[in-house]
């Protein structure tokens, strides 16, 4: 496919790998964080780690929306729709995320009306088609997804469609990066910046990372050559003692972002004073809530939400993995109690989660009882 195949060309990938080895100073150890879960998935899927010298280490960041959502929010969303007059609508990757009493799919098996939607607009369509029911759209995602939710809410209001509301879990990426940089056990040399979030917010919001924290940021695409070229650009900056924001993904990301998308977000959302992130704790001004002007389309303003807080299973070390302190395979549960089939932690659920990506694509799977029995 155009814009895909050419960015997977093996001879250019080999060349980019050589350039990385040339630029990396053998006396230094580089720790580069890819913020976005889409990058984490691509890095494992294409085996990019194997192309990097040992002293260039990729740390997986917090940019997987399913992974950072606390279990209490899933419980809250599911408890809202536990009556027959409700429909629970969510993206497919939410369906197997465990809540305290099961995942949305397990609730569906017990009789709840649970629907998988591809787009928030599909959830709105469900509301049009089911006028006697109330559709709650379980909204999740960073700035990539938030504008689509915002535009859907604007449309619901302009249509006067009141049997639709959004349980909003949208989060913003910048406060999460700040929390990671403030974390005392974290030492990073630079960031592969999120590509799709940046189509919306542009590249300026990262400038403080370069200017105040002295860390280079390269906003990157998702094909193997995009990611490798971004690492080349980061190593080039580090070699020259520079720290600036560069845009590797110019073919998709405008420096100023998408103004229509930002306007839709500003119209519908405001910042929450604080929001809980799985693994990172409470982060101030890190999430979006629906403005009171659109309160009728906000599940939390319209209905009573229990506000459940659930502590993660103690043995699961999702927090440490999420912050990059531990590698997925260093968690005690990895590949044993916690697998993509039976996930304990959210990092094992989403394909963008570093544990699921490591489990699915790494050649160094730990021996499980099932695989040992098969041998």
């Amino acid at each position: 496919m155009k814009y895909v195949d050419e960015f997977r060309a093996p001879e250019l990938i080999g060349k980019a790998g050589e350039e990385i080895r040339r630029l990396a100073d053998s006396k230094r150890h580089y720790r580069i964080m890819e913020v976005c879960g889409g990058h984490t998935h691509a890095i494992y899927r294409f085996g990019l780690k194997d192309l990097l010298p040992e002293n260039v280490e990729l740390i997986h960041g917090p940019g997987c929306p399913v992974c950072v959502l606390p279990m209490g929010r899933i419980d809250d969303g599911l408890s809202l729709t536990a009556k027959p007059e409700f429909i629970f609508a969510a993206f497919g990757d939410m369906m197997r995320v465990p809540g305290t009493h099961g995942s949305p799919l397990e609730y569906k098996a017990r009789g709840m009306d649970v629907r998988i939607v591809y787009s928030p607009a599909d959830a709105l369509k469900l509301a049009r088609l089911n006028p006697k029911k109330h559709v709650v759209f379980f909204a999740i995602g960073f700035e990539t997804t938030a504008p689509s939710t915002a535009l859907t809410i604007i449309r619901a209001k302009s249509e006067g469609l009141t049997n639709f509301s959004v349980f909003c879990n949208h989060v913003t990426i910048i406060p999460a990066i700040r929390a990671i940089l403030d974390s005392p056990d974290m030492r990073l040399d630079g960031f592969v910046g999120p590509g799709h979030v940046s189509t919306v917010i542009g590249c300026r919001p990262y400038e403080w990372i370069a200017q105040e924290e002295g860390k280079p940021v390269v906003v990157s695409g998702f094909e193997p050559l995009d990611i490798l070229q971004s690492i080349v650009m980061l190593l080039g900056q580090l070699r020259n003692g520079e720290s600036k924001v560069e845009n590797q993904y110019k073919r998709v990301v405008p420096w100023e972002g998408n103004r229509a998308a930002l306007r839709a977000m500003a119209e519908v959302f405001e910042l929450r004073p604080y929001f809980e992130w799985r693994g990172l704790g409470f982060i101030s001004q890190s999430a979006l809530k629906i403005r009171s002007a659109y309160g009728e389309w906000d599940s939390e303003q319209r209905f009573t939400v229990p506000g459940v807080r659930v502590t993660d299973p103690k043995a699961a070390q999702c927090g440490e993995v999420l912050k990059g302190v531990l590698k997925p395979s260093q968690c005690k549960l990895f590949g044993r109690e916690c697998t993509p089939e039976q996930p304990v932690g959210a990092l094992m659920v989403s394909s963008e989660g570093s544990c699921a990506a490591h489990y699915n694509y790494s050649q160094h799977k730990p021996v499980t009882i099932a695989s040992a029995a098969a041998v």
Binding site: K15, T199, Q229
Partner: protein, 91 residues
Amino acid sequence: MDALNAQLAVVDVVGVRRKVDLGLLAEESVVPGDWVLIHVGFAMSKISETDAADQMQTLMILGESAAAMEEVQGYGLENEVSANEEPGPLS
């Protein structure tokens, strides 16, 4: 535009025709034949053919000028490279 004011376009996604919402590209002029980045049913960004070609060009010559200079310097011939001479690719 359809009756419900959603700006819908039909997009070929790897051979599958899908309806995609253009509402978030209100400030761009999108015409049939353009390539767009789609996320959750909405077009988020128009893909720039020029920038894609520029990037491919950068990737093709990645490291070549630097490697060529190193090679030339390694032979102690740096004084013989004039400003007009492009260091050629090594193969």
